[in-house]
Point group: C2
Chain length 233, copies 2
């Protein structure tokens, strides 16, 4: 490595608590490619430090003089810029399909898991981020965190129902991408990792085939995700 | 071609009306590979003629002395048995992800479209199939066809909502598999082709990005799907 990569990675008040699903998929992509990265803790209130990216959300990757934002754009950048490294997609066709997985995850899974665990996030945040997070997320979901807590069981059932296509796949093969995990797996897993870091709620029943896959992803990339600090005991 | 392939393909009373989504994805896979096939009209009441497959549903592919059933199994068979032909998946990784598309389609899209167009199917069937179809499908969905017709608008709205991940993908790239269609596209398209053959209901609004993709698939494989006879005027 002659140019160290930097990643602005959403953190809690404890700088070792990294919970953003969009950042997690990039950290796993970087590990998959064997690229060393400095994952810099970043808070929602620190828009200024990522201003060169032209927008206000992490992940932001800095590679030399290039600033790249949006997790999908970053993933495609890494694949192309580091072609000599192991592919995170496998092929052009698989890259196309991974983008479908990305859209399905963000349209279906991420909102469904958020309705379960979002109310646990403010406890992890420092003073500067706490109110910003509550106000922006309550507006985005059109519901108060208090109401989300009340409806948690219902939200958990809906999340488990939304997993059905994934569940029926994972009784047939060990990973989304087949025999070994790649970026498609990291996208979907990042939602589980987000929940694991921010909440003590168990998303899956013990005998759910998705739980076995999640355990394999916690061990992938030398156990990167499994070793991450959780924001609760 | 030294051994002509045969495919038992679900047909209506009119033998040229072929409407099964599971058969359509295989017909497109065969065309993608440039394999000639005799697509034999098959009716639900003709379990006997496909008995050598060990089960009672089409598609069934006959390749020499081999009888293969289940659309996914047939697709994997064709890919492996005709490796010298153009790949329908693109890579092992893309094959893994195409199986997710298969599970998502069958768990989410197929039931959603069925709730819109299923009541139009019996009109296409001969006497021997008509009652069998109504009885088995009403039992499977737990609802009468009369009730489905009453709730059609609601079902159409739910189907369009279920397309959201596909829609958000297709504003970003022309096909699920990227720049050119492959089996992943054929799986999802087969649901639209089923609806197009059996029903006059228009599933999509004109400006839906999914409609442009559907038009491209009607033209794919030398216009195979676009040229198919519809069961209504």
């Amino acid at each position: 490595m002659n140019q160290p990569l930097k990643l602005f990675d959403v953190a809690g008040a404890d700088p070792e608590v990294r919970f953003s699903p969009y950042c997690w998929r990039i950290r796993l992509a970087l590990a998959h490619k064997g690229l060393l990265v400095e994952a810099i803790p970043w808070r929602f209130s620190e828009k200024g430090v990522i201003a060169p990216s032209g927008q206000g959300a992490a992940p932001v990757l800095v590679d030399g003089d290039k600033w790249i934002s949006d997790s999908w754009v970053i993933a495609e950048y890494l694949e192309t810029a580091y072609l000599d490294r192991p592919s995170i997609f496998g092929s052009r066709e698989a890259q196309g399909l991974a983008r479908f997985i990305n859209q399905w995850t963000d349209a279906v899974l991420t909102p469904a898991v958020a309705r379960v665990v979002l109310p646990d996030v403010p406890d992890l945040l420092g003073e500067a981020d706490h109110d910003y997070f509550v106000v922006t997320r309550e507006a985005a979901f059109g519901v108060s965190f208090a109401a989300l807590i009340e409806r948690r069981e219902e939200a958990l059932a809906a999340f488990r129902q939304a997993l059905q296509p994934l569940r029926s796949l994972l009784v047939r093969q060990p990973f989304l991408a087949g025999e070994a995990p790649n970026y498609a797996d990291y996208i979907v897993f990042s939602v589980f990792q987000f929940a694991r870091i921010v909440s003590a709620v168990e998303l899956l029943e013990d005998d759910d085939p998705v739980a076995g896959w999640r355990a394999r992803l916690l061990e992938a990339c030398n156990g990167l995700a499994g070793a991450a600090r959780r924001g609760h005991s």
